[in-house]
Symmetry: C2
């Protein structure tokens, strides 16, 4: 079985590029050392390989069902894997020691998670949601809420969910209709339907902690009226709360992850004799969406890393296949009686491997860079930590969307390298492709991040975020220009960055928001390629003095990105600069 993530690459990114060891000089991480980081990575790779990977295919083939007793039935291997994970303490990896965590740098914790994400995306999803949920409650919950809900989640006794979407409100959260009515005891009664709830129901844990967006009386219209509630499946006294599973969605991929439609407060259960799900307000009323968005950066970067890991696993599988499978002869061979060669000898197969390598290693670097910014927020001094936060705000839509697009493309190339075999369930790559298609949809659909980046992130604080990003990229360019091996790439990136900044100004000078945003998704994609070129230039600088296959491979993938990929931004920028309004002008009756 192929590896899922190259440990060598992870080590390079953490230690040779992001200087993660330096973090141990900070008080927050003073208990740690490269040894403890390595131990976490070793342990993760080991559990991922032994407990997560083996049921990846079975979890795909045996989809969750709802049993006659109304309970969700999953294959046993999922619970076994998650229990092992929880016992290892990894669930609390990056959490504070005060809540029972290891207080690891987020970048190390997320790097460790990529092994699980790559080995088995569906099983790992339960953890991802639980960690996100716990992160939010640690930040905004009361000490009592942390004790009641966070600690059991970090021990793996409870899992968590995020309940945002409703049947009529997916991308448009302003339109949610779930209601929260204050009760006399300070709790609320929640009523409404939530959908697309990952891990929304199961018997994996004693309890499920739902974080639910709902509208309490007195809020303004739209997003201003939204509050956030903890709504557990079981109350602390063991009473079943009024949260009912309506059904599970059957999906193209990620079969092992339950995805549920839930009714809150429909009277299926009647805690304390009344219909309505008991909910506990988190923080203040009407600020729920702000809390949710505060944690969204990390969740979105994590989705990007999930897409990355799925792409990475497919890449390594296709490398293994291409080295083992013989077929055909070199194009300049004339003698058909010569033995066939491994397909990795063919230029087009090498192109498909170089492309995958450029996508997945680039995406992993971007995701870890962003997670390193989270550590800077948490442990840095001002103004560095504020700047890290600002930079993360700008990079988040890209860190989520770019891997969701290009690591899916990597999975498609991995299928193509396998030929007909890649289309069969006998190999792993078709599942990776199906699993990965989700990532451009959830945690904000692709287009939403275009609106976020162009409509909000690059203009907030008078464009301070974009300015900061441009400064960081320029600093890299300046360094790279002094090296023969990277000078040409540095020049290309300087040109692309200048265009990005100029065109951002052009778009905002249009004077009509609908024209400015007419092609915001393409702006996202162009900006994504510029950022990825920067990330590759960073890696090339970090690898500049390295010798041997690993470094040669890094240089080849970096060169590939600059030669085959970055030039794609040219036509995108031309289109954006032209303020084309084909999209705005199109009339529904034309379709």
């Amino acid at each position: 079985m192929a590896d899922f993530i190259s440990r060598r690459d992870v080590d390079f990114l953490l230690y040779e590029w992001l200087n993660v060891e330096e973090l141990t000089e900070r008080s927050r991480y003073a208990e740690h050392s490269r040894d403890t980081f390595d131990a976490v990575l070793d342990l993760s790779a080991d559990i991922a390989t032994k407990r997560f990977a083996p049921h990846r295919k079975k979890g795909d083939q045996v989809e969750p069902t709802v049993g006659p007793d109304g309970k969700v039935v999953l294959i046993d291997e999922i619970k076994d894997a998650l229990d092992t994970f929880a016992e290892s303490g990894l669930l609390a990896g990056s959490f504070d020691e005060a809540v029972g965590g290891m207080q690891l740098p987020a970048v190390v914790s997320e790097a460790a998670m990529t092994f699980f994400r790559a080995a088995n995306p569906a099983t790992t999803s339960y953890l991802f949601l639980t960690i996100g949920n716990a992160n939010l409650l640690v930040e905004y919950g009361t000490p009592e809420q942390i004790d009641a809900w966070v600690r059991p989640m970090l021990e793996g006794k409870f899992f968590g969910t995020m309940c945002l979407s409703e049947p009529e409100a997916g991308s448009s959260l302003a339109d949610i209709t779930t209601k929260a009515v204050p009760a006399r005891d300070g709790t609320y009664r929640i009523a409404g339907t939530k959908m697309w709830i990952t891990g929304g129901d199961h018997e994996l844990t004693e309890n499920i902690v739902h974080l639910v967006l709902a509208k309490a009386p007195g809020g303004g219209p739209g997003v201003k009226g939204i509050s956030l509630f903890v709504v557990p499946k079981y109350l602390t006294d063991g009473t079943r709360n009024d949260v009912a599973l309506v059904g599970l969605n059957h999906k193209m991929g990620n079969h092992g992850t339950t995805n549920a439609l839930l009714n809150f407060g429909d009277g299926t259960h009647r805690p304390a004799g009344d219909a309505g799900a008991v909910g506990y307000l988190v923080g203040e009323e009407h600020k729920g969406l702000a809390y949710m968005f505060h944690m969204m950066n990390e969740a979105r970067v994590a989705v990007g890393l999930q897409a990355t890991a799925t792409g990475y696993a497919g890449y390594l599988a296709s490398v293994e296949y291409a080295k083992a499978r013989t077929q055909g002869r070199p194009v300049n061979a004339k003698d058909p009686s010569l033995p066939q060669v491994a397909i990795i000898e063919h230029a087009d197969v090498k192109r498909m491997l170089l492309a995958q390598k450029a996508y997945v290693e680039g995406a992993l670097a971007l995701g870890l860079y962003c997670t390193r910014l989270v550590d800077e927020q948490r442990s840095g001094t001002e103004p560095d930590s504020a700047r890290a936060h600002l930079l993360l705000e700008v990079l988040t839509p890209i860190a989520k969307s770019w891997p969701s697009q290009w690591c899916l493309e990597a999975n498609s190339l991995a299928i193509q390298v396998h030929g007909g075999y890649g289309y069969t369930k006998e190999f792993d790559v078709e599942q990776a492709y199906r699993d990965n298609r989700l990532n451009a949809i959830h945690e904000g659909a692709h287009g939403i991040h275009g609106l976020d980046l162009l409509g909000r992130k690059v203009v907030m604080h008078d464009g301070a975020g974009l300015t900061l990003l441009a400064e960081r990229i320029t600093a890299t360019i300046n360094k790279a220009e002094t090296h023969v091996g990277t000078r040409q790439h540095a020049d290309a990136l300087r040109g692309a960055l200048t265009r990005l900044v100029d065109i951002t100004g052009t778009l905002w000078a249009a004077g009509d928001i609908s024209v400015t945003l007419a092609n915001s998704t393409l702006y996202l994609e162009a900006a994504g390629h510029v950022v990825m070129a920067w990330i590759w230039l960073e890696q090339l600088l970090a690898a500049a003095d390295g010798n041997g296959d690993f470094y040669d491979g890094k240089r080849a993938a970096g060169r590939f990105f600059f030669t085959y990929e970055l030039p794609k931004v040219g036509p995108l920028f031309d289109l954006l600069a032209s303020l084309d309004t084909s999209t705005v002008d199109a009339v529904p009756s034309w379709f």
Copy 2:
């Protein structure tokens, strides 16, 4: 339920662009008229809607199995649909009256087939293989072979297959090892293993006619030693031939189509007491691959049309969804209490619909254009028919590959328009995406067509094919330059065509075939976009005087292609012109 193919669009392409009515002036099609063409299209749309579409999802959910008796078990609806199709006479649509056909123009017959392809790709595959098989035998078989095998196939009593690939020889047919040993009675005994056999076994028909590539004694090495044989599942006297089903492949999509591993001559059955599958030579010994390739153009264009139809169905489904689903508000709306709008009002959704429309309508036009060339081959006078053949040779790799790439992208966009719903099996678009992923793999994997186009088609006959293509495109440009509405597009296409021709020369001047072909897949993709721009320019000219939504929509999609898509060739051409050898130079140990 949405339509699968726009009949209005088909009529436009056939009657307003390709002047198909003109064909009825030729003796071969003199029995036909627009009325008979329309009747075939009406009948096809009707049967496709009533008999093929309803079990599309069930055929996906209930995969074929091998029963305890060794027979393939399929859902009943597949046989019912195929029987209805056969009873309609459509199987023999484009065949000569002399063999029981309707002698329809191929372009009409293929246009009719798109309704079936769109309604249910998996069920339609059985027909596609049968028609291809019969086409080949009509061309190269003896009258006795035609009576024995073709007539029952055209009546739907037998189905056909093409048995090319083997476990160690997929793209590399030179390496097949299946043997054919002459017997005293003039037949051969065939022994070997064939895989990826679409429709390789089933109980849908009384018999299955396998066309098998095998090596007979005395042939040269490589492809020169390959002969072609008819190897039926049952001999004409009802004896079971020695063809054994080893197993069915389980695939990402196209579940309703059996895809089999077959053993020929392994002694499972012993016709006339001896092991070895009885085979009947088609044509002459050692010319089998040439026969197969002669029919390959049509088969490859048909695969492109299958990809197109699957993309088209997804497009129309996403249009219907986007018009019905409300979500969010215009970006310039300030009042969150206004009702939500249909998502087709959002610019990014319109972008995704325009892109799909540009891909699927463009691909349908290309596929029908190529099929119109088949009719010109069959019914035209010299030199027109020879020129049609030459042009078809050059266009075939593009007609196969371009839709396989871009109509898959259309299906991905159709999912994206549906949001989370698109990822579920509740809607149809995820299945379309899975089904369509096959088309870049079978009938020659994507990269094979790059080698075919750049390595063979554009240089054969001293480049006569490319010259002819450039002449045709230039003729369209010259016409388009005289119209205000198309002048700008014509100029853009002239520039792109000039670069294509120049770069073809540059690549071939490299003096090293491995450098020439280093990026042949990207050459294919760039040439594909140039050809598609030409096809769109042709459509824009045909639509120039039209008024109303249909024509406005055509113009919008054409404009979209020229504005959003054609510029993508710029960076591809730059890369090709640089004779970059990153792919050739990459070393396996770097991966």
